[in-house]
Symmetry: C4
Subunit: 280 residues, 4 copies
């Protein structure tokens, strides 16, 4: 039989778990909102710290803010590890790793210059906002989307790989046509330009200057303009399909009387024989 | 019993209401067309006034025009408030606020420099054109569109938020890779560049110069090029769905027994009460 | 009773009509192919003539080519008018006007400088290629496309108009934020920049330099990136709808025995009762 | 009767064929993976060789690498020709030509400068990766995609051709409006700019400077922004249709009487012979 102490200990861990991981209690929601504000604050600090003028003026403020945030995140991380039943599962989960990486930059900055910028990874923690906003609906809604994207994965890989191969060849052609004199210094640089053009970004840091180069560039642009249709078409069609399955074909109810299938989600009677349908 | 005076007063307000708010009488249509021309004129005046050469040459003309437009808009606004039954409903409606903001810039310009440019908000009044063109059909047609966009709202929020989080991280990476020497002065500036690239705008005011930076830029472009498929796919699929609901589900048959509408084209019995449907 | 002369005259006109307008006789096809080559040649001449280096070197050649083309086009135009039954119908048709405008530039160049460039309108005549390639199939295929675009007309007008109104307002905001010092000289110029950004073209001839301006630019880009989904979604959905009607719902055949509708195009027997269907 | 020698010879060719062309034996897979690595290596060598700094430092290393790769590719090509039954079929196939072109650059570089860059065509060999990854699924999945693109071919040709004709006319207009003083040196150059704008690439190497030119540019951008919807809509709709055909039309039921496949999901009788179908 467990002692009162153990019981209290368990209760304490359960409560802590509810507050930190849950969002269904007022305390849990409050914790999540405060955490989000802290994350947002810490991200903004990192961004502003990188602006030389601000850093010169408020260096101490930034430094102290960083330390406070780091200590709070450290405490939070320790609590998260303590109150969960299988700590190793949390530690090696996506959010577990992000949470750890979010606490470490300030400590690491003693050893490595630049490591403080890893703090930008904290931005990933902001994705928790979906959970806090009680976005069950959001996530449910993006379910079809994820299904559509994941169904398109193989096709998109084929597409991206083909685009890269085309870019290597077109980049080489442009290197031969334009040459180093017009900014196409090397084939890798030319490939960079080709992708800038194919994706219709078009910085203009390099641009073709010979008539032939401009002619080829024109063709590349039209190709790029045309093939953007392909991933869009894929995702859009897959998404339509995922949607249709979910909203249209009801939950697979068949009429017990005549066996007719495919009823509207809100149908109560069979559209073929008028028999009562099973509840959805 | 109301006096003749009161009756006339009411009639006068009803007529005014018909002219100002309605578009089904010739006078109402004429009023709306004249108003639109006036709005267009006032917007063009504001635009041209900002061109230094024109302002130097025609300053007085612009000033007088502004005053005439402002006075006419003031009268119109007062009439709108008077002739409507529940003035506060109009005043706090979208168009009520726009109408008020459209009349005020000239008055405010006595007190605050720059306030005259709020006159550009008048452009929003031009949206009334849809009503004047008797675009019931247009609005009816854009109904499905609005439904599609509003059904996609949550998903698009998730999408935009995720893009922003990715931008913060990629922007930080580019800041570390390229640094202030190549125009990536600070992380916020780098994030600005990342979004310019992700959205395939590509000004070229800043562009990566190190091979590693160009390589990462290439990846950002391909990501941007690929994920543009996502909102397009969403809107397109939702719109298809909204359309299908309207066009597919029967030819407008309603159940004679329970009145339920929207049945499948091939339905023979009401999905709500099991009553025989009229033949399609 | 008509004389032999009249008969021959009529025959002559019929034959000419077949050659010039028809594509089902070898002579008609040959005429169309030769005409296309001539048009292509004349368009290339106009393009090359505008290149200073070429014009300096081959001015005479270009001039004589122009005259030959002009004279041939004049003869063709006269023949077209003569051999058609209702000349005024041809003259005021789309191609009739284009054909006339294509012959005139050289004559007009005596009177007005610059009018020779109207010759570029000849490019429109190249659209005849669809007819020559016997692209009945092409045109039939693009039928659904035209239906889709025309069904989207009203919606696309609403969309473009709304984008313009947004551009006026955002352009004014950017003018106030950035000002003439950073290239935003006037509101119209700012609107030009806004549209360059919204459409993700992004020349970079003007780009925001203040942090606030860059922040607003970022928002404009994301809006532009997002709303590109709208016209795509519309056209794609309408096109899907147009397609579905044509390919899926067969030619409206119903089963004579049980009345079941909606059979596959290649169905020979009713899918509901197995009765022979009428021929498609 | 064949001698042992002939038999062994045949066996040797069959085994070689399995290793080189097949991917179902361990040896075949190993060969393909090693080949892919070699191709990747040779492509990277070509890219780096074009960077002046690397070439100056490692010229000998690149040269020797090239020779080794070339010799290995030559051996592979000879083996491929030997072990296949109908060599001429392989030699004139897509991959046969690519394989030959991939081996030749180094040999040709004795005679023609620049021919070594044809080695970039080796990138096309990388497309074999789809086969090695056992991407039957990938290829099967991209089947619908290819069907969709090929079904859209005619429409996309009509689209691209129309865009080119519009570009010629708009390019001429911009040449007249802006002129050589603002970088629009000639009509072909103007057309180049028009396509850069229409496709929303927007380098900014040339950009309109007169108000009228900027106004026209604005219209071109909005056209370009709008018509990008067309190819996307086409591919997306065709792809949806290709998908629907595959997923919708029954669950693989074939008629037991005549063997006809692909029936509507709700079909009860064969559409070809009127025989009763098995239950879905």
């Amino acid at each position: 039989m467990e002692t009162n102490n153990e019981k209290q200990n368990r209760n304490w861990r359960v409560t802590l778990h509810e507050v930190i991981y849950g969002t269904h209690t007022p305390a849990g929601r409050l914790f999540d909102v405060l955490l989000l504000i802290l994350i947002l604050y810490s991200v903004i600090i990192v961004l502003l710290e990188s602006v030389k003028a601000y850093n010169d003026a408020y260096h101490n403020f930034f430094n102290i803010s960083e330390w406070i945030v780091t200590i709070l995140f450290t405490i939070e991380y320790i609590l998260r590890v303590i109150c969960v039943k299988k700590p190793q599962k949390y530690i090696f989960s996506f959010y577990g790793i992000i949470d750890l990486l979010s606490t470490m930059p300030k400590y690491l900055s003693f050893f490595f210059w630049g490591s403080q910028y890893f703090a930008a990874l904290r931005a990933l923690r902001l994705l928790r906002v979906f959970r806090i906003l009680k976005l069950v609906r959001f996530l449910g809604e993006s379910d079809n989307l994820i299904k559509a994207i994941s169904a398109s994965k193989a096709k998109i890989f084929v597409f991206v790989f083909s685009v890269l191969v085309i870019s290597v060849i077109l980049g080489t052609v442009m290197y031969l046509v334009e040459g180093a004199a017009h900014g196409f210094n090397s084939i890798p640089h030319s490939i960079y330009w080709t992708i800038v053009t194919l994706t219709t970004v078009g910085y203009g840091d390099i641009s073709p200057e010979t008539p032939l180069g401009q002619f080829i560039a024109t063709i590349i642009m039209i190709i790029g303009y045309g093939i953007i249709a392909v991933p869009t078409g894929i995702v859009s069609a897959e998404y339509t399909a995922a949607n249709r399955k979910n909203t249209h074909h009801d939950n697979g109810r068949a009429c017990a009387s005549c066996g007719a299938e495919i009823h509207r989600n809100d149908a109560e009677y069979c559209r073929k024989c008028g028999h009562k349908l099973p509840d959805a």
